[in-house]
Amino acid sequence: MKHKLGVLIGIAGILWPMAQLHAHHSFAAEYDEKQVIELKGTVTRFDWLNPHVRFYVDVKDAKGNVTNWDLELMSPNTLTRAGWDRHALKVGDTVTVTAYRAKDGTNRANARGNVILADGRKIFAGDAVGGDNR
C-alpha cells in the first residue's frame, strides 16, 4: 500500500507542471491567485463531470456555522491520466484542501496541490495557475 502511495505521490509531483495547462476557461478571470484559503471539512458531494470535476465540502467555523464550499478540480480525463478515478473521494470523507478563492466572493474555489484525506492519503488536485497562455 505504501509502495503504491509513494508512486502516486511521485507521479503527482511530476505531473504538476504539466497540469498547469489544464482548464477550459481563463483561470485569472474566475479565481484569485493571491487569495489562497485552506479548508477542512466533510465531503457532501463529488461530481465526476466535465468540464471540471467538482466536490463540495461542509466547513464548520468557530461558532459552529456550516458553510458549503464548491471546489473545482481538473477534468475527469486529466485526473484519470494523473491516476485518479471516480472513487477517489466519497461523501463523508474528511478532507483538507488548499485552494484559490473565486474572485466574485462566492463560496467557490479552485483546489491546488493535494487534497489530503483524514487517513493521510494525498490526492493530486493540480494547479491551474499559469495556464492562461494559450
Binding site: V7, H22, A23, N50, P51, R54, R81, R134
Partner: protein, 260 residues
C-alpha cells in the same frame, strides 16, 4: 519502507523524465545533468505507399503564443480588430462556453490524426479532438479546390497536399466566432490558414501555422509549434457542457488590466 517509497518515486521520475517534452523545466534540468546526451528518437514511420505516417494520438501544439512566433514575425492588429479585442470579456470566450476552438487554438486535451486509406494515397485526413466538443477537422486530399461560396464554419474548408514529407493544409471558409486565445485575439471571415505538418521523428510532430487575415491583421504571421505523440494514450469522452458551471463566475476583460 521509506526507502521503498523514495525508490518508487525515483523510478517513476526517471521513466517520466524520459517521456517529458523537451521544453519542460524538469527535462531541461535533467538535460544539463545528463552526459552523454540521450539517443535521438527513431525516425518517423512510413505508410506502405511511402508517405510519412502522421497517425496517432498527440498532445500539445497550436495556438498563437508570442513565444512561438517565427523569428522576425509580429502580430499587428488593424484598428477595428484592436477595438474588438479590447471590448472582449472573458465570460464570452467561446471555449469557456464549450464551443469549438477553431484553428489554430487548441484545448488542453489530446487529439488524433487519422490517415486513410493506408494502402493507396489518402483521400481524406481527419483530425479528431477530445475537447472541446468532440469535433473534427476534415482535410480533402483528392486535389479538389475550395468551393467558391462557402458557408462560414468553425473549422473551415481544408485541402491538403504533400510537399516532400510535409503535409501542407490550406483552409478558408472560417466563421469569425472563435477566439485565437484567452486574450480574445480576433479574426474575420477572410481568415486563411496554411499549416505545415511534419513528423520530424517518431515522437514529434512539427506544426507550423501561417495566419493570413487582411480583415484583422496588418500582415501575415507564422507560429512554429510542436506536438508530442502519445503512443500509450487513447482519446476519452469529454462532453464540456454536461456541467459547465463556470461562466456565471467568470469576470473581467479578456486581456487583464496590465496584460497577462
Amino acid at each position: 519502507m521509506i526507502g521503498t517509497r523514495i525508490g518508487s518515486v525515483a523510478v517513476v521520475a526517471a521513466v517520466v523524465l524520459l517521456v517529458m517534452p523537451e521544453q519542460s523545466p524538469l527535462t531541461a534540468r535533467a538535460g544539463q545533468a545528463a552526459k552523454p546526451a540521450a539517443k535521438p528518437a527513431p525516425p518517423a514511420p512510413r505508410l506502405p505507399n511511402g508517405r510519412p505516417d502522421l497517425s496517432g494520438v498527440l498532445n500539445g501544439g497550436g495556438g498563437i503564443a508570442a513565444r512561438n512566433l517565427k523569428k522576425g514575425d509580429e502580430i499587428v492588429l488593424l484598428p477595428e480588430a484592436k477595438k474588438l479585442m479590447d471590448s472582449r470579456q472573458s465570460k464570452d470566450d467561446p471555449e469557456a462556453n464549450c464551443l469549438p476552438t477553431g484553428v489554430p487554438r487548441m484545448n488542453p486535451y489530446p487529439w488524433r490524426i487519422v490517415q486513410q486509406p493506408t494502402h493507396t494515397e489518402s483521400t481524406h485526413i481527419f483530425i479528431l479532438f477530445e475537447g472541446n466538443v468532440h469535433s473534427y477537422r476534415q482535410i480533402f486530399m483528392d486535389g479538389r479546390p475550395h468551393p467558391d461560396d462557402l458557408v462560414p464554419t468553425w473549422y473551415g474548408h481544408s485541402t491538403g497536399k504533400w510537399e516532400g514529407d510535409t503535409l501542407v493544409v490550406d483552409t478558408v471558409g472560417y466563421n469569425d466566432r472563435f477566439w485565437f486565445d484567452f486574450d480574445g485575439h480576433p479574426h474575420t471571415t477572410q481568415l486563411h490558414t496554411i499549416e505545415r505538418f511534419t513528423r520530424t521523428d517518431l515522437n514529434t510532430l512539427s506544426w507550423e501555422i501561417t495566419i493570413i487575415d487582411p480583415g484583422a491583421y496588418a500582415k501575415p504571421f507564422t507560429v512554429q509549434t510542436r506536438a508530442e505523440y502519445k503512443p500509450g494514450w487513447e482519446l476519452m469522452e469529454y462532453i464540456c457542457n454536461e456541467n459547465n458551471t463556470n461562466v456565471p463566475h467568470i469576470q473581467g476583460p479578456a486581456v487583464p488590466p496590465g496584460g497577462r
